[in-house]
């Protein structure tokens, strides 16, 4: 649906040339929700603004469907932009237009006859659940409601593509969740292709089918969300995943656990004490992990610390467990974990 080929963009700054994007190539398929994630300054916003050519790339091509956008004249480009809806971090609603007026704006711009505007706007406001607020001004509604207006406005001209530029970054977690659910719902119902720019991993995790990781203007990793986050290959991706899921034991915790293990060894010299770090990835078989272990092997399991995130139904994260049992039993248990693709490391 969206074909980005070898896209590059540089800016001249007082400190010299700055390469915002270097050789980006992405194919975004029709009907998918595609995430573009990266730390701030990675070039995400530049990339999304290049897709509808609000920013002119230095080189490379953008094609949407059969239409190449790069190289179009201004008037033709304006027509093509009507097929691409866009929502923004700060909503960008006109303060002096009501909710109704804001949604009507793109229709007025496209020259839709007045008689057709009202039913269309009312339908859109119903779709985003704001029919009852149609006469309010943006200053009179909440952030989540403003973004719903933004979404209705972006969908006004029945676009094939919806670009979302950090659309949930200014919202609280609960509102973020409801906006993402709405986008997912619209995507499923209409088959619209959605491109989500974000720095929030939870956004990608929640709704993106595929994701591209952007770092310093380059797409360093592209693939199914699950694959990218469960087996991250690039440092930036790994950093993001570990920031969201992994956790290290603090020195104090580690010390306390060591003491407990020492005491346990003194009481039961026949039993071995081990502290394990289990890393769960998308490849791991996490079914009945802890109860399964306890049932299968004659050992005690104490949960020390865990941070596990659900990525589209798959658990990814880190568990610290203290286990005690005979050395042979513990060895067999660790082997069984390895067979289930759970990376297991002895910490103490």
């Amino acid at each position: 649906m969206i074909y980005i080929d070898n896209l590059s963009k540089t800016y001249d700054t007082p400190h010299g040339r700055f390469a915002a994007l270097t050789g980006i190539s992405l194919d975004i398929q029709k009907g998918e929700v595609f995430g573009i994630i990266g730390p701030s300054g990675a070039g995400k916003s530049t990339l999304v603004q290049c897709i509808n050519l609000l920013e002119k790339p230095d080189s490379g091509t953008i094609r949407i469907g059969d239409q190449e956008l790069t190289g179009l004249g201004e008037a033709a480009l304006r027509r093509e932009r009507r097929r691409i809806g866009m929502i923004f971090q700060h909503f960008n609603l006109l303060s002096r237009r009501t909710v109704y007026g804001n949604v009507a704006l793109p229709l007025e711009i496209a020259g839709v006859p007045q008689a057709q505007i009202r039913p269309r706007v009312e339908h859109l406001l119903g779709l985003v659940g704001l029919a009852h607020l149609s006469d309010r001004y943006p200053s009179q509604i909440s952030g989540g409601q403003k973004q719903r207006v933004g979404i209705a406005r972006a969908l006004a001209n029945e676009p094939d593509v919806l670009l979302s530029d950090e659309a949930t970054s200014a919202l609280d977690p609960e509102t973020t969740h409801s906006i993402l659910a709405l986008l997912r719902d619209i995507n499923r119902k209409t088959g619209i292709t959605v491109v989500m720019i974000t720095h929030q991993m939870e956004v990608v995790r929640e709704i993106c089918d595929r994701v591209a990781v952007l770092s310093q203007g380059k797409a360093v990793e592209v693939g199914r969300t699950l694959d990218v986050f469960s087996t991250p290959e690039h440092d930036v991706t790994r950093g993001m995943v570990s920031a969201a899921t992994a956790s290290d034991l603090t020195d104090a915790t580690l010390e306390a656990v060591r003491q407990t293990m020492q005491q346990a060894t003194e009481q039961r010299p026949d039993q071995q004490q081990r502290l394990l770090r289990l890393s769960l990835s998308g490849l791991s078989d996490t079914g009945a992990l802890l109860t399964g272990l306890a049932r299968e092997f004659d050992m005690d399991i104490h949960l020390v610390q865990a941070r596990v995130e659900d990525i589209q139904g798959v658990a990814v994260g880190t568990l610290f467990i203290r286990v005690s049992g005979t050395p042979e039993v513990l060895n067999r248990a660790v082997q069984s974990l390895a067979q289930r693709q759970i990376e297991t490391v002895d910490i103490a």
Binding site: R78, S95, I109, P138, R153, N157
Partner: protein
């Protein structure tokens, strides 16, 4: 109670010396001021706002960036604003004569007032329009709006409260400038104050003129504030 009345009685009787003829003169002068300010303000709005739009959209990084045009317009605006009004008035007499057919009288005074008010209006209108959130312009561009549509549907409506405030500032300044129109026989309240109040030693006339001007400016300002409050939805 009596002492209070006695204390204020000189003040209360201050205006007793004003004759009905003088009141008639005051009325005429008031109408002349309204005429001069009204028409020149209307011209200032009609020419100044488009000029302000031109200044905004040709700015660096703006919708229709054109730095050379921006610089030329900025220079003309600044130059006109630099000339003291009294000098401007006499300096453009040939132009005034060409436009109004005469170089003296109320009609003739409207020309220099408008010429002075246009760049003034343009600058404050430019500032009001620059306050419009750039994100709104980005959003409109993303919708496929043309530059003209962005000006008409986004910049001007969003800046409207600011433009009304700018118009009020211009009108108030014009009321002040119009006092100098007497120099070319333009009449008006300021001229009345100078000729009767100052030159003929009639302090009651001077005071009356000043009071009327204060009330006029106050009324204009209140109307403007009320309009701005009604219009902005921030």
């Amino acid at each position: 109670m009596n002492s209070v009345t006695e204390f204020f009685s000189p003040l209360l009787h201050f205006f007793d010396r004003i004759s009905p003829q003088m009141l008639e003169l005051l009325r005429t002068s008031f109408m002349e001021t309204l005429l001069m300010v009204g028409i020149s303000a209307a011209v200032a709005v009609l020419v100044g706002i488009p000029l302000g739009v031109a200044l905004v959209v040709t700015h660096r990084g703006a919708l229709l960036e054109c730095l050379s045009l921006n610089r030329v317009l900025g220079l003309v605006v600044n130059a006109t604003r630099s000339v003291p009004f009294v000098i401007l008035m006499v300096a453009i007499i040939p132009f005034t004569r060409w436009v109004a057919g005469t170089s003296i009288g109320t009609t003739a005074a409207i020309v220099p007032l408008a010429v002075a008010a246009i760049p003034f209006m343009a600058r404050i209108a430019e500032n009001a329009m620059r306050e419009v959130d750039r994100g709104l312009i980005t959003a409109a561009r993303a919708m496929g709006a043309s530059p003209l549509q962005i000006i008409v549907k986004v910049i001007l409506p969003e800046a409207l409260p600011g433009l009304v405030a700018a118009t009020i500032v211009t009108v108030v300044s014009l009321i002040g400038y119009s006092a100098m129109a007497g120099a070319i026989g333009g009449g008006g309240l300021g001229d009345l104050g100078i000729r009767y109040g100052y030159q003929r030693f009639l302090p009651e006339v001077m005071l009356l003129v000043v009071l009327v001007l204060i009330l006029l400016v106050q009324a204009v300002q209140s109307l403007g504030d009320w309009l701005v409050r009604r219009m902005s939805h921030r």
